[in-house]
């Protein structure tokens, strides 16, 4: 699944470790999502959307 997580994170000048800490997951998880090698669970997707004050579909785009 495609996503613009890296761009949104960069806009806020957060590191991957910052975002991982905010989401309560490992940094490898953030790296894997940004590289589109890991599709997050629905609860984590909602949490990511809440963190960036937007909807899930604003961040994740189905292939």
């Amino acid at each position: 699944m495609k996503n613009n997580l890296a761009e949104r994170r960069a806009e806020r000048r957060w590191t991957q470790a910052d975002l991982a800490a905010a989401l309560g997951v490992s940094r490898q998880t953030v790296i894997s999502i940004e590289r589109e090698k890991f599709d997050p669970s629905l609860p984590l997707a909602f949490q990511i959307a809440r963190t960036f004050d937007c909807r899930i579909e604003d961040i994740f785009i189905a292939d």
Binding site: D18, A20, V25, Q28, S41
Partner: protein, 145 residues
Amino acid sequence: MSKASFTSRWTPVHHYVLAIVLGVILTLAVSVAVGASNPDDFWLAAGIGALCAAYPAMSLGAKVFVSNHTAARDAHGEQSVELQWMRQAGAGAFLDVLVVIVVASLVLAIGRFDMDALPVLLGLVALSATDAGLRYVAIRHRALK
């Protein structure tokens, strides 16, 4: 926005000392127990027991006295990618062990070989642990490269 909550890369020296002390005590305990179970070759058995126990005992010491001060626990670790890697590695290792058991059973049945069960079971334990570990490392490497 909360910043990354890693506590520290290092912990006071006495924590490392306690970890080593715990590791040594556990290693010696296992070593003496193994040696006592083989009184004819006490020192050889104790040495082998110590070699086998040293790494897990030191790791336990590090987990108890060091890791709690150097690494933060993820609040939602169950949603981390590592869990998926572990599941993939475990599932792959299970299938590998299943294939090995089927092939080995066929060979033993056709060749009518007679073997002790203990070394076979220990071999299966070693195979499954090594297989799962290597698969985890490979999956992690592929995902992060």
